[in-house]
């Protein structure tokens, strides 16, 4: 428990540092929220200054930081200039979409990746292992933006099976049945999820295969084999379970994507999620929204790594003991 409290405390410090650094860095970049277009001659310097003052973006960086921190203590993340709404509302609108997309993609990616990796490890050095290995290497090397466009054009334009992006059919009547709404959602999920699965499952499979091959050589697995256990039992109970550690860590690191989204995939598929929101906020120099997105993302990194550690500790008591030792030494 002490180790957990320490991790949470460290996590809060990390989030605070990341938020502060982002707050400063985003203001050092050229441009500002009210100078995003050159071609509107009506936006005079005086008007921009007035708007900066109205939205608390005037004064030195330190003045703005103190102002922002005071608001944050009251639960106010500030006003998003580019979307004309509170930052918390903008995030609340985008977050469920990203959770749905990334949650679905991660579940499928890890299920497929782990299954594929285990299947390869069980057929080590056979032709099928080499073919899958080459395929996953190829998939892992694909640029996400390019892959997303290819999947979009294939599934939605050339074959016209799935919709061209978006999260819902804009023409779906408000009175549509629940079944129609769910079916519509699923249809819109297929292409972006397929893209993400292709991108994420490949490294998971490679990680799982490598970890399993490593575990299949260790002493206790040899002992289990020598004791006459069935190969399937040896594989499942003695090798696979202990080989989950690296994949779980990979899963923990992937968790932030649950809220961070996949910027390029969301962009190409017009998926109104956190990735798209953050990218647009950066382009528009929407300072408060950028920091708000970073805070949520950083918090998820911390939560993800803590969850991954807890899961690894649960599966491997030696790791839990080492963590407790480190916490005691730290105290």
């Amino acid at each position: 428990m002490r180790a957990l409290i320490q991790r949470v405390w460290h996590g809060l410090v990390v989030v605070a540092i990341v938020a502060t650094a982002t707050f400063v860095l985003v203001r050092l970049a050229p441009g500002d929220p009210f100078a995003v277009a050159l071609d509107d001659a009506r936006l005079t310097p005086a008007l921009r200054a007035q708007w900066r003052e109205a939205y608390g973006l005037d004064g030195s960086v330190m003045t703005q930081y103190v102002r922002w921190l005071a608001a944050l203590l009251h639960g106010d993340l500030g006003w998003s200039v580019s979307t004309s709404q509170p930052v918390s509302s903008a995030i609340a609108n985008a977050l469920p979409n990203t959770l749905l997309l990334m949650g679905t993609a991660l579940v499928f990616s890890f299920a497929i990746g782990m299954g594929l990796g285990a299947w390869q490890a069980a057929r080590h050095n056979r032709a099928v292992d080499r073919v899958i290995g080459a395929t996953t290497l190829f998939a892992a090397a694909l640029p996400d933006f390019w892959l997303a466009l290819v999947v979009l054009l294939t599934g939605a334009y050339w074959f016209r099976v799935f919709p061209v992006g978006g999260a819902t059919d804009p023409l779906l009547p408000l009175s549509a049945s629940t079944l129609s709404i769910v079916a519509d959602r699923v249809m819109h999920l297929v292409l972006p999820v397929c893209t993400l699965v292709l991108l994420i499952a490949a490294p998971v499979a490679r990680q799982q295969r490598a970890a399993l091959l490593d575990r299949l050589q260790v002493d206790w697995v040899r002992t289990a084999r020598a004791k006459g256990l069935a190969p399937r039992q040896v594989f499942r109970r003695h090798a696979w379970r202990t080989a989950l550690g690296p994949v779980i860590t990979l899963g923990g690191l992937a968790l932030p994507a649950l809220v961070g989204g996949a910027v390029f995939v969301e962009h190409v598929f017009a998926w109104p999620g956190m990735g798209q929101l953050a990218a647009a906020a950066i382009a528009a120099r929407d300072y408060h929204l950028v920091v708000g997105c970073v805070i949520v993302g950083a918090a998820m990194v911390v939560v993800g790594s803590i969850l991954a550690d807890l899961l690894v500790n649960h599966l491997d008591p030696r790791a839990a003991a080492a963590d407790a030792d480190r916490a005691a030494a730290g105290a």
Partner: protein
């Protein structure tokens, strides 16, 4: 590359003819209102509160939901009221001294919540726009408005401080009339947070239905008032931030209109049996702007501060090949700081010619001599500079590469400085560049060039990013803006354009045309160079050509 010259240019005046192409008189059923237009767009409004909206996407929606007192004609005349058609006001009267205009509101006009539109709404709206607390960008153009009085419930009278050629244009085209009963209590300093900024109530042909941020904004024809209803049932703006995705929606038949087809997609549209390609004039021009001041301090730029260098670079630029390379036939060469569709355009202006030999001779005469590395130098200063480009713009990136090569031929060492759009804007407004590839999207008003090229905008923070100053240019421009006769206005503007193109503070490259992909069943009409959507209330979809999505909202599909 497939030549685009084979495609028909459809003029705005000819938009009415677009559609089914039949000459037969349509039946009453075929003329019945109905249908849905789905517009695929990469952007969405910043807000829907007209005084503070700055995005074109916001303006498009507001033009359908709200009304102006009167509407500018397709010729974009801004002097007096010639060519203007009734909007919320069915007619208007000028005072003999032209210092006031009485607008007679359409007595059947209603807000979408059912309340009548009254003269008090006009008075309230102008007071809102002019209140410094509001921070309305249009307040500058409305500076000539003195006050608004209410003669009776349907007759607001706008009083002006002085008589100007564009006083009518300013007061009718810069202002959407707003409902006072819904906005009177709103805090004017934070209008963006008012409920109306997200769910507007107007008096226009379409009423607001819903806005799901990042996804869709829906409008429906207003059928509650006694005025002529829109011919369409619904208009939906669906957002896809990636232009390829936004275009693919139209190409795949999920949407009906995409307004910014890239040259490489034109052939695809032409081959799509469901789509029509529509080219219309626009009010945009692209240019290479030179910074006449050093990046730091107020001294002249060591290279581009020299008029001879700028003229030589202009003459070294083969604009015809640049325009053809980037836009094929989807743009015309720009002549100066104006577009052909504007009332002040001078079609006879002769820009500096493309003449590399003359450019070399000019640089030799100015003391810029070639070294062994073939670069020119003067007093140890290399003829070199950077071109700032937004890397998100494919067209501008390509233009920068072509310019770099053409300038190399006259001994100039040019570096391309690509940056994200926010950085591009930040560095341009801070004058932290040597040269920049910019673009102006202008409104119909005659004052655009004054903001962007006259001395008044040359101070830091102004929009004259080149810091170009020439009192003779300023004088001609101001005289043109003060002219009540169109002929005199054009004469002064023509003189101004000659002065500025001779001084070459920029190389005006291209006037891109607006290239739209539109579903064939839609009959478009009433567009203007400054607003292709202007006639959307009269767009129609013949009943016999309607498809599934044209069914009324809520109907089974």
């Amino acid at each position: 590359m497939l030549s685009l010259r084979t495609f028909r240019l459809v003029s705005l005046a000819g938009l009415a003819a677009c559609g089914s192409g039949t000459d037969a008189k349509p039946s009453a059923a075929a003329n019945s209102p109905g249908g849905t237009v789905v517009i695929s767009t990469p952007a969405e409004p910043d807000n829907l509160m007209p005084p503070i909206t700055t995005s074109v996407s916001g303006l498009q929606v507001e033009d359908l939901v709200f009304e102006r007192l009167a509407v500018i004609g397709a010729a974009l005349n801004t002097v007096g009221d010639a060519g203007f058609t009734p909007g919320l006001a069915s007619r208007w009267e000028w005072a003999p001294d032209s210092l006031s205009i009485a607008f007679h509101l359409d007595s059947t006009a209603r807000w979408h919540d059912g309340k009548p539109v009254r003269a008090a709404d006009v008075a309230f709206t102008l007071a809102l726009y002019l209140d410094p607390k509001t921070g309305a960008p249009a307040a500058t153009q409305l500076g000539n408005v003195d006050s608004v009085s209410v003669r009776d419930s349907l007759t607001p009278v706008v009083w002006f401080k002085r008589r100007t050629p564009s006083q009518f244009f300013d007061v009718v085209m810069q202002v959407f009339i707003l409902p006072s009963h819904l906005l009177a209590a709103a805090d004017r300093s934070t209008l963006a947070s008012a409920a109306q900024a997200k769910e507007p109530v107007g008096s226009g042909p379409f009423r607001f239905v819903r806005w799901v941020p990042g996804q869709v904004l829906e409008l429906a024809a207003d059928t509650t008032g006694g005025r002529r209803r829109a011919q369409l049932d619904r208009v939906l703006f669906t957002k896809a931030p990636d232009p390829v995705t936004a275009f693919t929606r139209v190409a795949a038949g999920e949407a009906d209109l995409f307004e910014a087809v890239r040259p490489d997609k034109v052939a695809e549209v032409a081959q799509n049996a469901q789509l029509r390609l529509i080219l219309t004039p626009a009010l945009d021009y692209n240019y290479l702007g030179f910074n006449l001041r050093a990046r730091k301090g107020n001294a002249p730029h060591p290279v581009l501060g020299d008029r001879a260098v700028r003229r030589a670079l202009t003459m070294a630029t083969d604009r015809r090949s640049i325009v053809a390379n980037i836009y094929d036939s989807l743009a015309v060469q720009a002549r100066g700081p104006f577009t052909s569709a504007q009332a002040g355009a001078d079609p006879d202006l002769k820009p500096l010619p493309y003449a590399v030999d003359s450019a070399n001779a000019l640089l030799d005469a100015a003391g810029w001599t070639r070294g062994p590395d073939s670069l020119r130098r003067k007093n140890g200063t290399v003829l070199g500079f950077g071109i700032l480009v937004p890397s998100s713009s494919v067209a501008r990136m390509r233009a920068s590469v072509l310019l770099q090569e053409q300038f190399r031929r006259v001994g100039a060492d040019v570096k391309i400085e690509g940056t994200d759009f926010g950085g591009f804007v930040g560095r341009t407004t801070a004058r932290d560049f040597d040269a920049m590839l910019g673009g102006w999207n202008q409104d119909a008003g005659p004052g655009n060039a004054r903001d962007s090229w006259a001395s008044v905008g040359a101070t830091k923070g102004g929009n004259n990013y080149s810091s170009y100053r020439n009192p003779a240019f300023d004088a001609q421009l101001d005289s043109g803006l003060a002219s009540f006769a169109q002929d005199r206005m054009r004469t002064h503007f023509a003189a101004a354009w000659r002065i500025i193109t001779d001084d070459a503070p920029a190389i005006w490259l291209a006037e891109p045309r607006r290239v739209m992909a539109v579903h064939r069943r839609i009959e478009m009409t009433g567009g203007r160079p400054d607003a292709w959507w202007a006639g959307m209330a009269q767009w129609r979809i013949p009943a016999d050509q309607r498809i599934t999505r044209d069914a009324p909202a809520g109907a089974p599909r």
